[in-house]
């Protein structure tokens, strides 16, 4: 009973593109008919930012099998580098259609450079070093940007780690980064349409990566490092490529984020943000790109709705997320518990459909 033969990988990726596109169209209809609330409209760009950040983190967590806790740090680098570019060029490059794509690329490239710099010493090692180093990296990036003063005048760029006064700017000088006060004056280039396009591009990049020779090599390393080496796969190279791509996309997400703000402050990119994105990945399913996008959107929208119903909810949100992390991991990783659920699920399924041929499933 062979129908049209579509590869499961193709089916999985195109289903995701279709879902995201359908959601986009639905939102556009809602906006044009006036049925979208202001709160909802305000969340559209964050939806895209978090979806991109979560889907790209899933590349490192689900496909590579390494834990990165520095997603906020990479977003921070992307946000700052792109914001500075836009602030400096908004008078010379007046078209947002040219300026913003360049800004996105700059955000991504800077983040990727940092990702690779961290990855080179850490990814060649076995053990849990990536988690701790990325955690530290995220904190340091936040602290450094919080204390960083950058300005420019006719004599060039000035840097300081102490105060604005230390910059000794000439009277014609202009501040770029004003310590904890951050960056001001970014053009508001982020729109939902651009956010959607970048999200779709991100998904295409991720799926194409996973279903390529490189992605296969990365998953081989995840499943069995020693066997992967025995067939000649260069472990460090593949890990670096994957981690670099994750950082790049996080940087792009940060760039979209910063061009949606009037003031960009480093304190927004704290540890909580990295954990939040990890929660999206875990709840959406480790290794499932589609799941990450759905979880990012649902878990960005739901708390806002709940906050409206009960102002105390905000206090418990992070606590709930921590419990979610623990419970999800125990339920999906403990063989006994998983076996129990699989068995009950199979029984249930057997009751509903009498079909013994359950096809195996690959990464979604």
């Amino acid at each position: 009973m062979k129908k049209l033969k579509i590869k499961p990988s193709t089916r999985s990726s195109f289903t995701t593109y279709a879902i995201v596109t359908a959601a986009f169209i639905a939102v556009q209809i809602m906006i044009s008919t006036g049925s979208a609330s202001n709160m909802f409209k305000g969340l559209l760009i964050p939806f895209c930012v978090y979806s991109i950040a979560a889907a790209s983190l899933n590349l490192t967590v689900g496909i590579l099998g390494e834990l990165s806790l520095g997603q906020a740090g990479f977003m921070c680098i992307g946000a700052y580098s792109s914001a500075i570019f836009s602030v400096c060029t908004k008078d010379t490059i007046t078209s947002a259609w040219i300026r913003f794509p360049i800004a996105l690329l700059i955000g991504g490239i800077f983040a990727a450079i940092f990702g690779i710099l961290i990855g080179i010493p850490v990814l060649r090692l076995r053990g849990d070093y990536l988690a701790i180093v990325t955690l530290a990296f995220g904190e340091i990036i936040k602290n450094v940007f919080n204390a960083l003063y950058v300005g420019y005048d006719s004599s060039g760029l000035h840097f300081s780690l102490t105060s604005q006064g230390d910059l000794n700017l000439a009277p014609d000088g202009k501040m770029l980064i004003n310590g904890a006060l951050g960056v001001k004056g970014m053009p508001q280039d982020s729109t939902f349409v651009i956010g959607f396009v970048v999200l779709l591009l991100t998904l295409i990049i991720l799926y194409n990566f996973i279903y390529s020779s490189t992605g296969r090599a990365v998953m081989s390393i995840r499943d069995n490092r020693i066997a992967a080496e025995s067939v000649g796969l260069n472990i460090t190279k593949y890990k670096l490529i994957t981690f670099g791509l994750t950082a790049f996309l996080a940087g792009v997400a940060g760039a979209i984020f910063s061009h949606n703000l009037s003031t960009l402050q480093a304190s927004k990119f704290d540890y909580n943000l990295s954990i939040l994105i990890l929660v999206f990945v875990v709840l959406g399913g480790i290794g499932s790109i589609r799941g990450s996008v759905i979880a990012a959107i649902v878990l960005t929208y739901l708390p806002e709705v709940l906050r409206k119903l009960n102002s105390d909810f905000g206090k418990y949100r992070m606590l709930i997320y921590s419990v979610v992390l623990i419970v999800m991991m125990i339920f999906t990783s403990n063989a006994k518990i998983r076996g129990f659920f699989a068995a009950s699920f199979a029984k249930l399924k057997g009751l509903i459909i009498k079909d013994k041929n359950t096809p195996a499933k690959e990464a979604e």
Binding site: I132, I140, A147, L325, N334
Partner: protein
């Protein structure tokens, strides 16, 4: 003189890192996991002491003992509920769970004690030492930290090498399955490891909060990570290594803060981690472990 002052501060802070690093090193050596929640157990210990002293009005030393008991129970509970079900799973699953536990403790503390940091009253009630006609003043907390850490390192080394339970810990760290075949109760040994590590975290909490008397729900996070760096620096799995690594990290941090930049002190510590990982991933006193193929 200023340098000597910084050095003493560094050694004192390093002693606290050493006590925390012992907890990481023991758990990493025996349960083969990076217990991210270890730093937050310090914070819990700090809050228990604070509550006992300020709200209940107990004597500081009794408060520390109660905190030790509370953290020991907490450590064992965390292991039983969160980590034990995952003993056969991937590193990634265990790591994410540990992150979850760490985050859970931070947020529970946030709900109970609020966002505003509290001022911690020192548990050490001893006179300070004045040298060179008052040019150098060594705070009693600094002396206490140094003495306590030395006592703990010596005591723990003796415990691990001389007692039956300690040797069981060594055996489990070497080969869990072989240890089980030799009749060692692996579950109990791992519980014991968590108990010791968490008890030490309470002591570290007392020393840390006495020396730096601001206590909030994230107090344990950064010192925890830096102590992990110290454990890696000294050679993870090694008890003397934790001491050596702790002292070095403490001194590097304080000198970096004083002579390079206060904002970059943390970055310098992590730069040290990266350099260690490049030059000698097994740390100063660590040994290379061959993987079974």
């Amino acid at each position: 003189m200023a340098f000597l002052d910084y050095l003493i501060n560094g050694i004192s802070l390093g002693s606290i890192y050493a006590v925390i690093a012992l907890g990481y090193t023991l758990v990493y050596g025996i349960a083969k996991m990076l217990n991210f929640a270890h730093g937050d157990v310090i914070m819990v210990g700090g809050y228990v002491i604070f509550t006992m002293m300020s709200n209940v009005g107990l004597n500081s030393y009794v408060s520390v003992l109660i905190a030790m008991a509370a953290c020991t129970v907490l450590g064992i509970t965390i292991e039983k509920i969160a980590y034990k079900p995952l003993r056969q799973s991937t590193n990634l699953a265990v790591l994410i769970t540990a992150i979850g536990v760490s985050y859970f403790l931070q947020n529970i503390a946030l709900i109970i004690f609020g966002e505003k940091p509290v001022t911690f009253k020192s548990v050490i009630d001893l006179p300070k030492i004045t040298l060179f006609d008052g040019q150098i003043v060594i705070k009693s907390e600094a002396i206490a930290s140094i003495i306590v850490s030395v006592v703990i390192v010596v005591g723990l080394s003796l415990f691990v090498n001389k007692t039956k339970s300690g040797r069981a810990m060594l055996a489990v760290s070497e080969d869990k399955d072989a240890a089980r075949l030799m009749g060692i109760n692996v579950n109990r040994t791992i519980s014991l490891t968590f108990a010791i590590g968490s008890g030490l975290a309470a002591i570290a909490g007392a020393l840390l909060c006495s020396s730096y008397p601001v206590l909030s729900n994230t107090t344990g996070a950064m010192p925890g990570i830096k102590a992990f760096v110290a454990a890696v620096f000294g050679g993870i799995g090694s008890i003397p290594g934790a001491m050596v690594g702790g002292l070095l990290i403490g001194v590097i941090e304080i000198l970096g803060r004083a002579y390079i930049s206060p904002q970059l002190a943390d970055a310098i510590v992590f730069a040290v981690l990266i350099i260690v990982l490049i030059v000698r991933p097994t740390g100063i006193l660590g040994k290379k472990v061959n993987e079974k193929v």
